[in-house]
């Protein structure tokens, strides 16, 4: 098995008046673990179905390993799709499921059986071949679906939210397994999800998608720390947002007039004085001048602490500065929490604040 690269060249998809996917150029490298992350209805599944061949794009071209896929049906593409509900064949045994693609290629039963057992062993299901899919647990069925897809030796494996039916523990376990499997096989994985945890932990690169547009393609780290748009910033992880008007840009510092006075941050390219902008700060980057701590003096806010939620490794403080909710994540130091009464001084550094043109935010 070896991965192939996938290129979308001006691909767009329209259903009647509705544009599910705006014209998109995207290159996914051979052997890459690539995720498309976005809320439901953003067009990510449409892209997946276009790559697998179940949908013909309205415009544009899909190329896999340099070959155009226009006019090539799903059963002739070097892709395999793992469906959201897995779509295991209920009337067939586990090994027949795994060997289905080989049976369709006319491979003799003995060889099919042997190959199926090898694949089942690879996904730690040795000896389960005679069972029916319904006799397996959710995680085992998941692995059958993966083995069945890998049996046809695809160059590109497409995964449509395959973990969404599993419970939390299993989901986290399967993340590691999928990543390991991808590394072992070298197949290009294209993983569709609305779960940022899945996308960030497994992927080499992540594309964040909203309303049919891929807003950013970057490594997990960059998606989190260098979001390109307000949507990416607010969809991935948690953010505090302050709206305001940009008054001046002095080199690496943008000054924004907000309801809380002047706030300063790093400007994204494309902002100019006079623009409506948003200042984004991660909750873990906001400090609190209390209990001996001292918040940064770069930006200062006065806020009321309304609630304290213990999340385990950190404490989540819900504050309110005027009309604006502000969240602070403090490491759980083992001491009892801060005094919740009265006003508190919050602060954050210029380098931790990002100033972007105002735009769509992700809805919670």
């Amino acid at each position: 098995m070896h991965g192939k690269d996938v290129v979308l060249d001006g691909v767009s998809m329209r259903f009647g008046d509705f544009t599910a996917v705006q014209p998109t150029d995207l290159t996914i490298e051979a052997g890459e673990f690539f995720s498309i992350l976005g809320p439901s209805g953003c067009g990510k599944t449409t892209i997946l179905r276009i790559i697998s061949g179940f949908l013909d794009p309205t415009a544009g071209d899909v190329r896999i390993g340099g070959d155009t896929m226009t006019g090539i049906r799903p059963n002739a593409r070097p892709t395999a799709l793992i469906f959201q509900n897995l779509a295991l064949f209920p009337l067939m045994s586990v090994w027949e499921n795994v060997a289905f693609g080989l049976e369709a290629r006319g491979i003799a039963k003995g060889a099919r059986r042997e190959r199926a057992e090898e694949l089942l062993a690879m996904v730690a299901l040795d000896g389960q071949g005679e069972k029916k899919p319904t006799e397996l647990s959710g995680g085992q069925r998941q692995r059958v679906a993966i083995a069945r897809a890998l049996a046809v030796e695809p160059s590109v494996l497409l995964l449509d939210e395959p973990l969404s039916a599993l419970d939390l523990k299993l989901r986290q376990h399967m993340r590691a397994e999928l990543k390991e499997l991808q590394r072992k096989t070298g197949v290009t994985f294209i993983y569709i999800t609305h779960d940022q945890g899945e996308a960030l932990t497994m992927s080499d690169r992540v594309a964040v998608m909203n309303r049919g547009v891929i807003e950013q393609v970057a490594s997990s780290d960059d998606i989190y720390s260098q979001p390109a748009t307000p949507f990416v910033a607010s969809f991935v992880g948690e953010q505090n947002v302050f709206r305001g008007r940009l008054t001046a840009v002095n080199g690496e510092v943008a000054e924004v007039e907000t309801a809380h006075g002047i706030l300063r941050g790093r400007p994204r390219s494309g902002v100019a004085a006079g623009d409506e902008v948003m200042v984004f700060v991660r909750p873990e980057r906001v400090g609190l001048s209390r209990n001996g701590g001292e918040a940064s003096r770069d930006n200062r806010l006065t806020a009321t602490i309304e609630r304290r939620d213990l999340e385990g490794p950190f404490v989540n403080l819900h504050c309110r500065a005027g009309e604006t909710p502000v969240m602070i994540h403090l490491p759980n130091s083992g001491e009892s929490g801060p005094d919740l009464s009265g006003d508190a001084e919050l602060g954050f550094q210029i380098t931790d604040a990002v100033v972007m043109p105002a735009g769509d935010l992700a809805r919670d």
Binding site: N75, L81, F100, A104, V152
Partner: protein, 284 residues
């Protein structure tokens, strides 16, 4: 739920207060059931009893002594036996024609996304609504005039299959509407051709319906009278022969046929229930 239970229990037990000494709804239901079963089974009981009466006119009231005479006469009746053979041959032929036609129609109607499907559905279901006489007579005339085929077992088979295929189609449609189409997509994605997908995924899913539709077709064919009568010409089936005899007065031999059919039905139904029960706990 526990809340509403607590409420009714907490009240001054309105149930006991409301309950009248005679449970009228229960009595009416039981009475209705007795009437219903009497309506269903009394005629059968009379028919069975008359088969054992020595009286040459089937009767229960005019009892002339217990006799098995009519049971011994049946095997000597060539026309009845030949009619039975014809009935079975036609029924098998009907299954062979109606199952593929019904399945094809159901596939087109459930898969084709077109405005024409409504019209097509009406056309394909219409044989069920057409009077049997019309189906039988038109089939007979059409095959005679268009192909020079004389009325007989073939035309009777075709005429019956004409409307029985519609029943099969409706049954296949009901099954296909419950199918998870993603399974076919998954098979296609794994490299299967459309034919292979149909043979390996769709058809196995439809097999239970193929079986039940075959049984229904068989029963529909065996018991059919009007369509068969008008399409079969000078030949005959068991049912048309019984019908023909009625004109010259009844014979208890007909009752004997009835008794045999009832017996076969009871044995088959019991066997089916028992086999179900044995396989039951595993399959649920």
């Amino acid at each position: 739920m526990s809340l509403s239970e607590a409420n009714t229990r907490g009240g001054v037990s309105p149930q006991t207060a409301r309950r009248s000494p005679v449970d009228w709804s229960g009595a009416i239901l039981n009475g209705y059931l007795v009437l219903f079963f009497a309506y269903m089974f009394l005629p059968l009981l009379f028919m069975v009893v008359a088969a054992f009466n020595a009286n040459p006119t089937p009767s229960v009231t005019d009892w002339q002594g217990f006799s098995l005479r009519w049971f011994t006469e049946l095997p000597q009746d060539e026309r009845f036996l030949q009619g039975l053979v014809h009935s079975l041959a036609i029924a098998v032929g009907v299954i062979v024609i109606a199952i593929p036609l019904g399945l094809a129609g159901a596939l087109v109607l459930t898969r084709l996304q077109s405005r024409g499907t409504t019209v097509l559905y009406t056309v394909l279901v219409s044989p069920i609504l057409t009077p049997g006489i019309v189906l039988g007579a038109t089939t007979m005339i059409f095959w005679r005039d268009a192909f020079g085929v004389q009325a007989g077992l073939l035309t009777a088979t075709i005429a019956q299959a004409g409307f029985i295929a519609s029943y099969c189609m409706l049954m296949f449609m009901a099954r296909l509407q419950r199918q998870d189409r993603v399974l076919e997509e998954a098979a296609l994605d794994l490299g299967a051709s459309s034919v292979f997908v149909f043979r390996r995924i769709t058809l196995p899913f439809l097999m239970p319906t193929v079986l039940t539709a075959s049984v229904i077709s068989f029963l529909q064919s065996i018991e059919n009278y009007n369509t068969t009568f008008f399409a079969i010409g000078s030949s005959w089936t068991l049912v048309t022969e019984i019908g023909a005899r009625m004109r010259f007065g009844l014979s208890p031999v007909v009752n004997v046929i009835g008794v045999i059919f009832v017996a076969i039905t009871i044995v088959a139904a019991t066997a089916w229930v028992l086999s179900r029960r044995r396989a039951g706990p595993a399959t649920g």
